[in-house]
C-alpha cells in the first residue's frame, strides 16, 4: 500500500501527483476545496480570498528535494501568515479539514507565558452569533523531516467566516509549508480498511520515503489488502514473536483507516521504559514517550483513559503495549477485559497494537498480572512479543514491526529484511 517513491529529478511529478491526489480525494474522501503545492503561486498576485500578513517575512522558495514551498521566516514579535477565506455557504454543516506538510528543522525560543506562540496550521470559524472558535496543530521542533499537520472543525449552518491559515505567531522561527489542502469530510468517520481503502502516509520522516514526494496523508490511497495466505508463522516459543496469517487477517479486518503518521511507533504501558528496545527499527520513528502512559503507576485503565487523546494527537502507526515486567501493582477484577479493550482501542483509532509481555518471573503476585494479559491476548488475537532476555528485545521488536509492516500494513519491505532477519532464534 505504500506510496511509490518519487525521484526528485522528475520535476513534473509533483504536479502529476497533485492531480492524482486531488482526483483520489474527489473520489474517495470529501470534496477538496483547495490544494496548493506552491509550484505556481505568486504571493504578489494571490487568488481572490487569499491574503498575507507581514509580507516581508513570507516567500515562495525552492526547497531542496521538495520543489517550491512557502517559507515563513518570522523575526519574532510579529504575526506572519498566509490565509485563505473559504465560502461559508460551501462548508456550512460540514466538517472541514485543513492539512499541510510542515518542515521545522530548527528551534525557536518560547515566548514566556504564551505557549500558543509558535508555528501552526489553523482553521478559524466565526459563527452566526459572532463567536470565534478554532482548531490548530503545531509542528515538533528540531525535526529535519516533513511533518503532516491537520486541523478540523465542524462548521455550523450560517457561519459568518471560515478561514484556513498557515502562520507563525510571535515566535522567531523559520518554517516551510507545502501541500496546503482544505477539504470537506462529509462522512465523519474515515473509511474502513476492510473495504479496501486506507489513508495514505502522514509523515515523510523515513529516509527512504523522504526522498520522494509523498502525497499528504489525507489523500486516501487504494491498497490491495495484503494476502495473508503466505504470512510466515512466528511463535513465542520459537522466535519470541507471535504472528501468523490469522493475526494478520484480523488486524487487517479490525484496523480502522486512520490519519496515522507513516512509520511511527509509540511505546506505552506499565512495563515501559524498556531501555533494551534501543533505537526504533530502521525507517521507523519513535514518538516521544508520554509520561502518564508509562511506568509502574500506569495500568490498563489509565491507558483506556489517556491513550485516545495521545493516539489522536500523535497518530502512531503501531502502538507497543508493554505489559507489566515485574509484580507490584494490584490487578483490577476486570484486568483481562481492560487489556482487551486497550488492544481494541488501538485498532479503533487506527493503530496496530503490539503486545509486549514478560512471561517469566518467580516473584509473588506475578501470575495475578500476567494471567489477564495472556487472556486478553488470546481473546483479541493480536501480534505479541515476549520480553525474555534483554539482548533480544530490540531484535524481536524489529521483527514484529517488520511483520506488521509487510503483512498488516501491506507494504513491501524497503530494505533487506528478508528471511534471514526473521528466522527463529
Amino acid at each position: 500500500m505504500a506510496s511509490t517513491p518519487v525521484r526528485r529529478s522528475n520535476r513534473r511529478f509533483p504536479l502529476i501527483l497533485a492531480v492524482l491526489v486531488v482526483s483520489a480525494q474527489a473520489v474517495l474522501a470529501g470534496d477538496v476545496l483547495i490544494f496548493e503545492d506552491f509550484e505556481k503561486l505568486s504571493l504578489t498576485q494571490l487568488p481572490p480570498g487569499w491574503g498575507l500578513r507581514e509580507e516581508s517575512e513570507l516567500a515562495v522558495v525552492e526547497q531542496p528535494e521538495r520543489g517550491k514551498c512557502l517559507r515563513i521566516k518570522a523575526r519574532g514579535g510579529s504575526w506572519p501568515h498566509l490565509y485563505v477565506e473559504l465560502d461559508p455557504a460551501k462548508v456550512a454543516g460540514k466538517r472541514v479539514r485543513l492539512s499541510a506538510l510542515v518542515l521545522l528543522p530548527g528551534e525557536f525560543a518560547a515566548v514566556p507565558g504564551k505557549r500558543w506562540a509558535q508555528p501552526k496550521v489553523q482553521l478559524q470559524l466565526k459563527d452566526k452569533n459572532g463567536a470565534d472558535s478554532d482548531a490548530e496543530q503545531t509542528p515538533t521542533q528540531k525535526t529535519p523531516t516533513w511533518q503532516l499537520l491537520q486541523a478540523a472543525l465542524n462548521i455550523p449552518e450560517q457561519a459568518q467566516k471560515v478561514t484556513a491559515l498557515l502562520r507563525v505567531d510571535l515566535a522567531a522561527a523559520e518554517v516551510w509549508f507545502d501541500n496546503l489542502c482544505v477539504e470537506t469530510d462529509p462522512n465523519g468517520p474515515p473509511p474502513q480498511m476492510g473495504a479496501g481503502i486506507a489513508v495514505a502516509p502522514a509523515k515523510v520522516d523515513a529516509p527512504t520515503a523522504a526522498a520522494g514526494a509523498v502525497p499528504p496523508a489525507i489523500a486516501p490511497e487504494k491498497i490491495a489488502t495484503a494476502d495473508v495466505s503466505h504470512v510466515p508463522s512466528r511463535t513465542l516459543a520459537g522466535s519470541g514473536v507471535l504472528f501468523d496469517g490469522n493475526i494478520a487477517a484480523r488486524m487487517q479486518k479490525e484496523l480502522a483507516a486512520s490519519k496515522a503518521l507513516r512509520n511511527s511507533l509509540l511505546i506505552v504501558g506499565p512495563g515501559q521504559p524498556v531501555s533494551e528496545f534501543g533505537k526504533p527499527p530502521r525507517d521507523w520513528a519513535l514518538l516521544a514517550e508520554q509520561k502518564p502512559l508509562c511506568g509502574p503507576t500506569t495500568n490498563p485503565r489509565t491507558l483506556l483513559t489517556l491513550l485516545p487523546e495521545a493516539l489522536e494527537t500523535m497518530r502512531p502507526e503501531i502502538v507497543v503495549l508493554v505489559a507489566d515486567t515485574k509484580p507490584g501493582r494490584r490487578a483490577a477484577s476486570s484486568e483481562a477485559d481492560d487489556w482487551q479493550d486497550v488492544i481494541q482501542l488501538c485498532l479503533r483509532l487506527g493503530a496496530v497494537p503490539l503486545l509486549a509481555i514478560s512471561l517469566e518471573s518467580t516473584e509473588d503476585g506475578w501470575e495475578e498480572l500476567r494471567g489477564p494479559v495472556l487472556e486478553a491476548a488470546r481473546n483479541t488475537v493480536c501480534p505479541q512479543l515476549e520480553l525474555k532476555m534483554p539482548q533480544t528485545h530490540a531484535r524481536r521488536l524489529n521483527e514484529a514491526v517488520r511483520l506488521i509492516e509487510e503483512h498488516v500494513l501491506g507494504r513491501a519491505l524497503s530494505g533487506p529484511a528478508g528471511e534471514a532477519e526473521l528466522q527463529d532464534e
Binding site: P190, R301, L306, E309
Partner: protein, 421 residues
C-alpha cells in the same frame, strides 16, 4: 494499669461502633432493626414455602400463609422459610444475642405448637411454644437466646442464614396459618413502630419499579451507589450527564430532546454531553462504549452516564452481560452513576428483532440488578403510543417521550443519590 484498661475499652467501643456503622440494615436510620418484612413488596420477600395472600383475615394488607411441608409424614405441619442469606445481613454479626428478638404477628386456626428455628453455617437452634389463641392475630416475640440445640445456642459471631417458622397442629388436619410484620431487632419491636413507619414512607417515596414508573430504584440501590461513590472518592461536575448511543434517530438529536425535557421538568441545570471518539465521531455500540467510556468520563467529568442501548448492540447474551458489566464497573469506580436505558423496539417488530431485543434487555437488566444500577424500560412510555415509532425506529415523538422518562430517572438520582433537592 487503669489508664491502659480505659484505652483498651475505648478501642473496643470504637471498633464496635465502626463495625455497627458498616453493617447492612434494611433501614439505615434504624440500625437496631436487622430484618423486617411486611409482605407488601410482592416478590421481593425472602420467604419461601408458603405464599403471600390478601383475604378477609388479613384485611387490606398482605400476609404470608405458611405452606404444607413435603417432609412431615403423619403430622400436617405448615412452614415458611426466610432466606436471610439472600440479604447482605449478618445477624447477630457481632451484636449481643441476648438483646436480639424475633417478632411477628401470627394467625392460626389451630392452637398447635409454634416452632421458630434459626440456621447458621455450622448448625441450627430452635424454640417451640404453644399457640395461645386460635383465629386471632396475636403478637409473638422470641428472644433468640431462648433458641437451643442441645448445648448449642446463638453466639455473637454467628451469621444466621435462614429463619424457619413452623406450626404443628393439634388436630389432624392441615392448619391455616398466617404470619405478618416479621421483625428481627434489638429489644422490643414495639418501640420501633413509629420510626419504622417513617423509614418505610421514605423508602416508598424513593422506590421505583420498571412496570409502574419506567425505571428501577430502591433503597438498596441508593445504598450501593452511595457506597460506590464514596469508595471512588472523586468529585465530578454536578448534573453533567454523559450520553452514549445518542443517535436513536438520524433526524432527531437525543441531546437536544433531553435538554428540552429537563427544561420542561424545571431541571434545566442538567448538562447533557454526547460521548464521542477523539475524532468527534459519536460513540455507538457496546464495543465503542467499552473502549471509549473512560476517555469520555475523564474528558467530560460527568457525574452520571446515560447508556442508551440499541437492538444492534446484541451479539450474544454472554457478550452483553460481560461488556455491560465491565462498563458499569468502570463507571462506578470512576465515581459516576450509570443509568442504563434498555433498547426501544416497536411492538410490531419482526420476530428476530424482538427476540434479540428481549435477549439484550434480559441480559442487561440482570447485570444492572446485580450491580444495583438503575435501568430504564422504554416500553413503559412507548408501548401504548403508536406514534412512537416510524419506519422501525424511534420517531421524534418517541425520542421525546424517552427523553422525558430519562430526565425523570436522572432527577431521581440527583435527589436520592447525590442528595440534592
Amino acid at each position: 494499669m487503669k489508664r491502659a484498661c480505659c484505652a483498651a475499652l475505648l478501642l473496643l467501643v470504637t471498633a464496635a461502633a465502626s463495625r455497627a456503622e458498616t453493617a447492612w440494615r434494611p433501614f439505615p436510620d434504624l440500625p437496631q432493626v436487622f430484618f423486617y418484612d411486611d409482605f407488601e413488596g410482592g416478590s421481593e420477600s425472602v420467604f419461601e414455602k408458603g405464599r403471600i395472600v390478601k383475604n378477609a383475615t388479613t384485611g387490606n394488607s398482605s400476609a404470608y400463609e405458611l405452606g404444607a411441608t413435603d417432609w412431615s409424614v403423619g403430622d400436617r405441619i405448615v412452614w415458611g422459610v426466610g432466606h436471610l442469606s439472600r440479604l447482605p445481613l449478618k445477624m447477630p454479626g457481632g451484636a449481643d444475642p441476648n438483646l436480639i428478638s424475633i417478632n411477628f404477628m401470627l394467625w392460626s386456626d389451630d392452637p398447635g405448637v409454634l416452632i421458630v428455628k434459626l440456621f447458621h453455617p455450622r448448625g441450627d437452634y430452635e424454640v417451640a411454644q404453644r399457640i395461645q389463641k386460635a383465629n386471632l392475630w396475636t403478637p409473638v416475640s422470641v428472644p433468640i437466646m431462648e433458641l437451643r440445640n442441645g448445648k448449642f445456642r446463638p453466639e455473637a459471631d454467628h451469621a444466621c442464614t435462614k429463619l424457619e417458622i413452623q406450626v404443628r397442629p393439634r388436630d389432624k388436619r392441615l392448619p391455616t396459618v398466617y404470619i405478618d410484620n416479621v421483625m428481627i431487632c434489638m429489644g422490643n419491636a414495639a418501640q420501633y413502630q413509629q420510626r419504622l413507619q417513617t423509614a418505610r414512607n421514605q423508602m416508598a417515596a424513593m422506590a421505583r419499579n420498571t412496570a409502574r414508573d419506567g425505571f428501577s430504584f430502591s433503597q438498596q440501590y441508593q445504598t450501593a451507589l452511595k457506597d460506590a461513590l464514596k469508595m471512588a472518592g472523586k468529585r465530578r461536575k454536578p448534573r453533567t450527564v454523559l450520553v452514549t448511543g445518542a443517535r436513536l434517530n438520524n433526524d432527531v438529536d437525543l441531546i437536544t430532546r433531553l435538554t428540552q425535557a429537563a427544561q420542561k421538568q424545571r431541571a434545566g441545570n442538567f448538562t447533557f454531553v454526547a460521548a464521542s471518539a477523539p475524532d468527534a465521531v459519536p460513540v455507538a455500540g457496546l464495543q465503542d462504549l467499552r473502549t471509549l467510556l473512560l476517555y469520555n468520563l475523564q474528558k467530560t467529568e460527568a457525574e452520571m452516564v446515560l447508556l442508551v442501548m440499541q437492538p444492534g448492540d446484541y451479539t450474544t447474551a454472554d457478550a452483553v452481560s460481560r461488556g455491560l458489566r465491565v462498563c458499569l464497573e468502570r463507571t462506578l469506580t470512576s465515581g459516576a452513576v450509570p443509568v442504563v436505558c434498555l433498547p426501544a423496539v416497536p411492538s410490531d417488530a419482526s420476530g428476530d428483532v424482538r427476540q434479540k431485543s428481549d435477549a439484550l434487555s434480559s441480559a442487561a437488566s440482570a447485570v444492572c440488578a446485580k450491580l444495583a444500577v438503575p435501568w430504564i424500560e422504554p416500553g413503559t412510555v412507548l408501548a401504548n403510543a403508536p406514534d412512537s415509532f416510524a419506519g422501525g425506529q424511534l420517531s421524534a415523538a418517541g425520542v421525546e417521550r424517552l427523553s422525558v422518562l430519562a430526565v425523570q430517572t436522572l432527577r431521581h438520582m440527583d435527589q436520592y443519590v447525590f442528595g440534592r433537592k
